[in-house]
């Protein structure tokens, strides 16, 4: 096998309605099986919608939110949500909900609100950046 790579994945598609995020998840699985490490998954644009634990797919359908959560905990990589993109789309954690006096939150660990600095860091430091 070629030497393991440190891979950053950028997701710009929502958790349901488009294939982008599903493809990103399958890619992440395959990369891990091949022995690579995931530096982080950075969710931007409509990708931030993957973070909502209030999404409720039908019982016989694939639950991408839950799948991201399980994969990230098992393999210890971050699910980084761009905070500015998230807040505009109604994705908030408990702290932001309190700060902004919003009645609910819908983002919790292992998803976390971060900034575009995380994206920039991946662009500079990851061996590969793969965008979906």
């Amino acid at each position: 096998m070629s030497s393991p790579l440190n891979i950053a994945i950028i997701v710009t598609g929502p958790s349901y309605g488009r294939q982008d995020a599903l493809s990103a998840y399958h890619y992440a699985q395959a990369a891990l099986v091949a022995g690579h490490t995931i530096q982080r998954v950075f969710f931007y644009n409509d990708g931030v919608l993957n973070a909502s634990f209030l999404s409720a797919p039908a019982a016989d359908e694939f639950d991408l939110h839950a799948a991201w959560r399980a994969l990230a905990i098992k393999h210890q990589f971050g699910l980084d949500i761009c905070a500015s993109a998230a807040l505009r789309r109604g994705i908030v954690d408990a702290g932001e909900a309190e700060r902004l006096s919003l009645p609910h939150f819908n983002l919790e660990y292992p998803f976390q609100l971060t900034g575009l600095g995380q994206l920039a860091e991946s662009l500079v430091t990851a061996d590969r950046v793969v965008q979906f």
Binding site: A85, L116, L123, V124
Partner: protein, 118 residues
């Protein structure tokens, strides 16, 4: 090999893609000067002067392109073919850019290690 290429191909309004690409470029410029920006297709509309997007409830982020110089974002390339197809000439653009043919753009983009196309 160059560092990071941002390709932006969406019109400024109608989706958030262009505006969020601009945000990503500015954030990345804080960590590295080794980045280039490529305006292709409808992306060239982002650079037009005299936009009035508030009338459609959209943010006027075009003014922020003037900060690119301040952020040392200097490698800014615009597809000449895309300008011609849309009847735009260089005097209508907000900032100084380098115009390249589609072939030259492609060659330039391939010289970058990482390419983001948000």
């Amino acid at each position: 090999m160059h560092g990071i290429a941002f390709i932006t191909r969406q019109a400024p309004h109608g989706s958030a893609a262009a505006r969020e690409t601009q945000d990503a470029i500015l954030a990345t410029s804080a960590l590295t000067e080794d980045l280039s920006v490529f305006f292709i297709g409808d992306g060239v509309f982002q650079l037009l002067k005299n936009q009035a997007p508030k009338q459609i409830g959209s943010r006027n982020f075009a003014a922020t392109f003037k900060l690119f110089d301040l952020y040392d974002i200097e490698n800014i390339y615009v597809c000449q073919d895309s300008l011609l197809e849309r009847g735009i000439d260089g005097t209508q653009l907000l900032i100084d850019v380098t115009c390249l043919s589609q072939v030259e753009m492609n060659a330039k983009i391939r010289m970058h290690a990482k390419i983001l196309n948000l």
